[in-house]
């Protein structure tokens, strides 16, 4: 294959990518590219995980260490399959907080601390630089493969020249499409689509080579399996520490790598895409790994001894005369390398610009935050950062000489970024994680990684002297870089992973437990950990910001039109017609998030703070907000209590009112009754006395008339006596004659007296004389009066054919109860509360004399005797119960 055709093909491919990115950007700007933001494109863009290290290196890895290469893809598979645990929350927070990079996420979580942003940026840049160098190396090597053996006038070009062209071209592409605009959410539709196209190319290329190997060189899967069994790959040993450690490492890397974070979180345009990616991305990884072992096996079998297994994907088809297939494989490798470099450069430049350049510039010239042209500056700093990142990668490639096995450098880089994991997971799930803990954990982890893995990887005497590697610094054996604390004999990579993450996590947790977070930190912590609860973060009202100044600043960052649109929307939401909304806390927070999407949370916070003067928020302010809420809650609880009390009182009032109404009705009824009662005897007295006055009648007739007059007068007197008695009893001025009296005798007396009422009825009286032998200290006359009343009531009203009355006496402690139960039909329920009221009379038809005062008098008497009288419901018959004390002690009675 002529070398110039190769160069032409790769140039054509690059131009094609440029066109794709360009067209997509144009269509996205016109708003016509909805389908470009599909779950498929999202999933394919995630394939930047598979770099040239996968494309070329996995085969080499398999040739050297058997199935161990699978760990690099099984870890991410587990993370994506378990997206409901972590990725979902990560993406949600990324969208809520408008996170621009992984450094921004950590910085934002821990109180928008720029120190943390700088630390994470440094870790990422240091870890990614060798990785970018690796990509440059793989592209250069693959050029070399085509140039080397053919020797048709095109000698192997100078490696450095090739790599500088590659690095320069990539920088141009990245700057062109990665920094076209300061998107609100830092998304790059064009680049992402180009990456998705590259993802398809590399998958197709690897599958094509794999299919060629399995069905072209070997005779199908069964043959391949037997060849695997007989090849040297079959002798690999599964070391549990590496198998476990590498799966964990790759799982950590897939979320912590800056380029993965970029495509996974920052470029995510719809959370639902993640659901698709949860199975589609593992599927992609599986397809990428499927033919790695067959290619490695056939390469080992067919290629000459000593050829580089990292390049089998390329050299195997080439050696079989499959030039077209080799070209496809070359483009696949080229795609893998370029997509990684582009995304990594975008991610790293965002971090460097937002966390290093901008804060530096702001601290040098604070006044320019408002007046200067921030927008241009941010873009410029980002472009310079891209160039710098690629320059670093190129420098590393030149310095290291590009001779190591590809896989080693990739894993070292993974361990470096894995140091971010504790701070990230802690920040997402633990509100107690603090800035101090994160700073210490990251620093210690990074230092151990550099000391135990990164610096020794340059080889003895390169950075760390061979003597230190062998004996430890200053002869301290327990500090040997690859055998810390005497842990020897395990793989250096696992050794470094274990110690760096162990110390990182321990320091992070310990200092988090001991330190106290600042107010912004606590708010951000709550917002991150409770990302799925739509609770608004507590605001504190500290206006004071001039909306116009805010608008000027926002225009410098977002661009004039977008800033105006944002302000207008906010003003409309506040119900104002003008462009300038009031600087409410909600508005300022929204604006800060919006700016954070362009320049990062820490910078946005600092800029807003300068204008709004919010920097001086103390814990006390937060507590005041919380106290206010607590007071409101307490107040409402008190109100509730009061309301309950009122309801209770109202219910009581209603009951009393009902009773009063009933009584008033009764009173009216009684007034007509009493006038009638008074009038009947008066009428007969008047009539008979008139007859007597006329004289002239027989003596016996006159005597008869006189007796009638006398009886009627007695009836009147009795009625008046009753009324008088009642009023005396009610006023409590009654004179009681206290003395010892036998209950049985009193009942005897009462029965005898009551016998005069309707003497024609025969009553069956049931008594238990033994239980009645009780001596009471009370007013026996009054008590007997109550008995008489109850018994005569029974005689009057009992409607049974064979009436009977049971008198039942019981002693309970210092009190006596006496029940009078007849076998009548009893008193209806609605009347039971009324019968003890004055003037109450149940039925009009049973006119048995009296004015309905009997039971009222009984009740007053019992109250005066320290007892009660009540109707006993639920007996199925009329039953009254009297309760009174055995010994009445009453000061007033003495």
């Amino acid at each position: 294959m002529p070398f110039n055709i190769l160069v032409l093909a790769s140039l054509a491919y690059v131009i094609f990518l440029f066109l794709v990115a360009f067209v997509v950007e144009r269509r996205a700007a016109a708003g016509a590219a909805r389908w470009l933001r599909s779950p498929l494109v999202y999933t394919l863009s995630l394939s930047v995980y598979c770099t040239a290290w996968t494309f070329y290196g996995a085969v080499g890895y398999a040739a050297r260490s058997g199935l161990e290469y699978l760990t690099i893809y099984l870890g991410p598979t587990l993370v994506f399959v378990g997206w409901w645990w972590l990725l979902r929350k990560l993406v949600r927070i990324g969208r809520q907080q408008r996170v621009t990079s992984i450094a921004d996420l950590i910085s934002s979580r821990y109180g928008k601390s720029n120190l943390l942003g700088v630390i994470v940026t440094v870790i990422c840049v240091v870890a990614a630089t060798p990785y970018i160098a690796l990509q440059l190396q793989s592209v250069t090597l693959s050029f070399g493969v085509f140039a080397g053996p053919t020797a048709d006038g095109w000698a192997m070009p100078d490696r450095d020249i090739t790599s500088i062209w590659v690095a320069g071209g990539l920088a141009a592409f990245t700057i062109l499409f990665g920094t076209r605009n300061l998107d609100a959410k830092e998304q790059h539709t064009g680049v992402v689509t180009a990456i998705a196209v590259e993802a398809v190319v590399k998958l197709v290329a690897l599958l094509a080579v794999g299919i060629f190997v399995v069905w072209g060189l070997a005779s199908g899967p069964a043959d391949i399996l037997s060849r695997i069994q007989s090849s040297e790959i079959a002798e690999w040993q599964m070391k549990p520490s590496r198998w476990t450690g590498l799966i964990l490492l790759s799982a950590a890397a897939v979320i912590c790598l800056p380029r993965m974070f970029q495509v996974l979180v920052v470029e995510n345009s719809d959370e639902r895409h993640l659901a698709t990616a949860s199975w589609a991305f593992p599927l992609y990884l599986m397809l990428m790994s499927l033919f790695v072992v067959p290619i490695a096996v056939m390469g080992l079998e067919l290629m000459p001894e000593g050829s580089n297994p990292d390049l089998f994907v390329l050299t195997l088809p080439l050696s079989q005369g499959q030039g077209g297939l080799a070209m496809l494989a070359f483009l696949g490798g080229f795609s893998s390398a370029t997509s990684m470099v582009i995304v990594a450069a975008i991610a790293l430049s965002t971090m460097v610009s937002n966390h290093v350049v901008m804060p530096l510039w702001l601290s040098l010239r604070p006044a320019r935050a408002v007046s200067g042209d921030v927008r241009r500056l941010v873009l410029l700093s980002r472009r310079l950062s891209i160039a710098a990142v690629l320059g670093l990668g190129y420098a590393y490639f030149r310095l290291s000489g590009g001779s190591e096995a590809l896989a080693a450098i990739g894993l070292i880089s993974f361990v470096g970024v894995a140091q971010i994991l504790p701070a990230m997971l802690g920040g997402l799930f633990w509100r107690g994680a603090t800035r101090a803990g994160a700073v210490l954990g990251l620093t210690i982890g990074f230092a151990i990684w550099a000391y135990a893995l990164f610096l020794p990887s340059f080889g003895p005497d390169a950075v760390i002297p061979a003597r230190v590697l062998a004996e430890g610094p200053f002869g301290m054996g327990w500090l040997r870089p690859q055998a810390l604390f005497g842990v020897e004999g395990i793989d250096p990579l696992i050794h470094a992973l274990f110690w760096s993450l162990a110390f990182n996590t321990a320091a992070f947790c310990a200092l988090s437990l001991m330190s106290f977070p600042g107010p912004v930190e606590r708010m951000q912590g709550a917002a991150f950990v409770n990302a799925f609860e739509d609770s608004a973060a507590p605001n504190w009202a500290q206006g004071g910001a001039d909306p116009e100044a805010l608008l000027v600043m926002a225009q410098r960052i977002l661009g004039e039109e977008e800033a105006l649109a944002f302000f207008e929307a906010q003003a409309r939401a506040q119900g104002k017609a003008a462009y300038l909304p009031d600087p409410t806390p909600a508005f300022i927070e929204g604006l800060e998030r919006r700016l954070a999407g362009s320049v990062g949370a820490a910078t946005a916070h600092a800029m807003i703070s300068q204008l709004a003067g919010r920097a001086a928020v103390s814990v006390e302010d937060l507590m005041a907000v919380a106290n206010e809420a607590a007071q409101i809650m307490e107040y409402s609880a008190r109100l509730e209590e009061q309301q309950e009390e009122l309801t209770r009182a109202a219910r009581q009032l209603r009951e009393v009112n009902e009773k009063l109404t009933q009584i008033s009705v009764q009173k009216d009824a009684f007034l007509s009754q009493i006038s009638h009662e008074l009038r009947t005897p008066m009428t007969s007295i008047r009539a008979f006395s008139e007859i007597l006055m006329e004289g002239d009648m027989p003596a016996d007739m006159a005597t008869g008339y006189a007796r009638i007059i006398h009886e009627e007068a007695i009836r009147l007197t009795r009625l008046l006596d009753d009324l008088l008695d009642l009023s005396v009893l009610e006023s409590g001025t009654v004179q009681l004659n206290l003395g010892l009296a036998n209950l049985r005798e009193m009942i005897d007396r009462a029965l005898a007296s009551a016998g005069h009422t309707r003497p024609e009825r025969r009553f069956d009286i049931q008594r238990d004389p033994a239980s009645e032998e009780i001596f009471l200290r009370t007013d026996s006359d009054r008590l007997t009066q109550v008995f008489i009343n109850l018994i005569s009531n029974a005689r009057k009203y009992c409607d049974a054919a064979a009436p009977e009355l049971r008198i039942h006496v019981r002693r309970k402690g210092a009190r006596v109860t006496i029940d009078f139960i007849d076998n009548g039909s009893g008193i209806p329920k609605d009347q039971q509360t009324l019968i003890f009221e004055k003037f109450a009379r149940l039925t009009d038809q049973t006119r048995a004399g009296g004015a309905g005062l009997g039971l009222a008098i009984c009740r007053e008497v019992m109250a005066n005797l320290g007892g009660t009288i009540g109707y006993l419901p639920g007996q199925g018959r009329a039953a009254f119960r009297i309760t009174l004390p055995l010994r009445l002690e009453r000061a007033a009675a003495e």
Binding site: L78, G82, W84, L225, E235, I247, A275, W279, V293
Partner: protein
């Protein structure tokens, strides 16, 4: 505003599906770690062909299970189960 203690059938199903989605990576991790326990008895060589087949079958099953679960989880509905145990 407490979440209700008991749920209707549909939302109960969805919660159990989410539990399944949470369990899936743990099951996957177990199955992937399982080969470490094999092949220790004969120290000569592993049955690498069988390992390849086993791991890719596990992989396929994980992908299929995730593909079945993912659309049924109902992402938009606000849900407290993830965060309820954190203070």
């Amino acid at each position: 505003m407490k979440a209700p203690l008991f749920l209707a059938r549909a939302s109960y199903r969805r919660r159990r599906l989410r539990d399944a989605a949470r369990l899936l990576p743990l099951v996957g991790a177990f199955l992937i770690w399982l080969p470490m326990l094999w092949g220790k008895s004969d120290s000569t060589a592993r049955d690498t062909g069988m390992d390849v087949i086993y791991l890719f079958v596990v992989w396929t099953v994980l992908v299929l299970a995730a593909a079945v679960l993912a659309p049924r989880l109902g992402g938009d509905e606000p849900e407290r189960t993830v965060t309820e145990d954190e203070g």
